[in-house]
């Protein structure tokens, strides 16, 4: 069957099988940031955005992309690089395997939640597993990144005034 969707701002027309998952389709489009960690919806590594909402691409039928906008890490390079700097500074980038899905969900959270508490951050990210870090360095990086975004917003608002 044929599907038409928008991938990172680009129109895509693709031929898929009825039982293809979005994950395989996105890799076929050379979005290699999208990886399979568990294939059982438990690890969060395959996270992408469907119309701006984070979902697990290992379980979303590719057919459901029809008419929708999909965003992967390839489409969020600027934000990802900004956040990655905080991760590097806090040592929360170890083997790096969990990063693509984790970064996608952190960026979704930064849009979704205003001034989240530590508990709200943990709750939002509980579906992203990391075998290396123990999550404390992640938390430091996230808090600093959110503070950076807040300052940036305030600066922009100041510039406008």
């Amino acid at each position: 069957m044929e599907i038409n969707y928008v991938l990172n701002g680009r129109k895509i027309k693709a031929e898929i099988s009825a039982d293809d998952m979005l994950l395989g389709q996105l890799r076929a489009q050379k979005c290699f940031s999208v990886k399979c960690g568990c294939e059982t919806t438990n690890c969060g590594l395959c996270t992408v955005w469907l119309d701006g909402v984070p979902v697990l691409s290992c379980a979303v039928p590719a057919a459901r992309a029809e008419g929708h906008e999909i965003t992967t890490l390839e489409g969020l390079q600027k934000e990802a690089r900004e956040f990655a700097q905080f991760m590097a500074e806090e040592g929360s980038d170890q083997c790096g395997f969990c990063n693509p899905g984790y970064v996608m969900n952190v960026l979704a959270m930064a849009r979704d939640l205003k001034n989240p508490t530590e508990k709200e951050i943990c709750d939002y990210l509980s579906g992203n597993l990391c075998r290396c870090t123990g999550y404390t360095s992640h938390m430091r990086a996230i808090k600093k990144y959110l503070a950076f975004l807040k300052d940036k917003k305030a600066e922009e608002a100041g510039d406008k005034a």
Partner: protein
């Protein structure tokens, strides 16, 4: 892993229902559970374009379309104000945000899973399901029906003067619950549901007087009637002991408006 020959996006419920009469065809909702099985599906019937992803409210009830995601349930303020956050509490530990953005209330209730937080929570409330052919029936009846070829269209939570509280115990955050309980207090009595026993949830009621004057004895009587089981997550003895703790905690939370645990 399952296989699918044709992916059909249903344009009407009638079309979906007719297709679903064949054993080799299956409704596809969030797809989170379905894809883990090994069915050879001829037509996967997608309900996502039927406008069934809305939570609607009127004077008597909340109506949740079957394609409402668990995340929608978690974030809906009116629904959570009304249920005193019981619905939010019952889904908040299910895997993760991304998972809950896809998994649906229809798939959760239709599956009648033993481990289901959603089923356990809704069973203690005045909940009905609307089936395409069979019409409206109480969730308490639906839970004991054998899965057939009907379609679950809506889940309905009736409004009343009740207060609800949901409690679950997990060995690890985001794992399946080891035991789950929901309590609802109305002016005419209490209702309780106990799920993840590990088999599917059951519902019991008690009078206001019995809980007020003899809470331990009343809960012990209820728990005596329930068959708890042992699996790799927990023993039946542990489940039974914890069910009592969770029920008492839920009752206390309701009586104190969540001020004290």
């Amino acid at each position: 892993m399952y296989s699918i020959k044709e992916y059909v996006i249903a344009t009407t419920l009638e079309e979906a229902y007719n297709l679903n009469q064949k054993k080799t065809n299956r409704i596809i909702a969030g797809n989170m559970w379905l894809r883990l099985g090994n069915a050879n599906i001829v037509n996967a019937i997608d309900l996502s374009k039927l406008g069934l992803n809305k939570i609607e409210e009127n004077d008597e009830e909340f109506q949740l379309g079957c394609m409402v995601s668990l995340r929608q349930m978690e974030l809906d303020e009116k629904l959570n104000d009304y249920t005193k956050n019981a619905l939010r509490d019952c889904v908040k530990d299910i895997v993760g945000t991304q998972f809950r953005n896809s998994a649906t209330v229809g798939g959760s209730i239709w599956g009648r899973f033993g481990f289901s937080d959603v089923l356990t929570c809704m069973l203690a409330m005045d909940t009905e399901v609307e089936l395409y052919k069979a019409g409206r029936i109480s969730l308490a009846d639906f839970v004991n029906m054998k899965p057939d070829n009907d379609i679950l269209v809506k889940v309905i939570i009736k409004k009343n003067d009740g207060k609800a509280n949901y409690q679950a115990l997990r060995n690890a955050a985001t794992d399946f619950p080891v035991i789950a309980c929901c309590a609802v207090k109305k002016s005419d009595g209490w209702s309780f549901s106990i799920g993840a026993k590990p088999t599917k949830a059951v519902r019991y009621t008690a009078s206001l007087e019995d809980i007020q004057n003899n809470m331990d004895g009343t809960l012990d009587d209820i728990l005596e009637k329930i068959t708890f089981g042992t699996n790799t997550r927990a023993s039946k003895e542990y489940r039974k002991a914890m069910a009592k703790v969770l029920l008492k905690r839920a009752i206390k939370n309701i009586e104190t408006d969540g001020q004290e645990v």
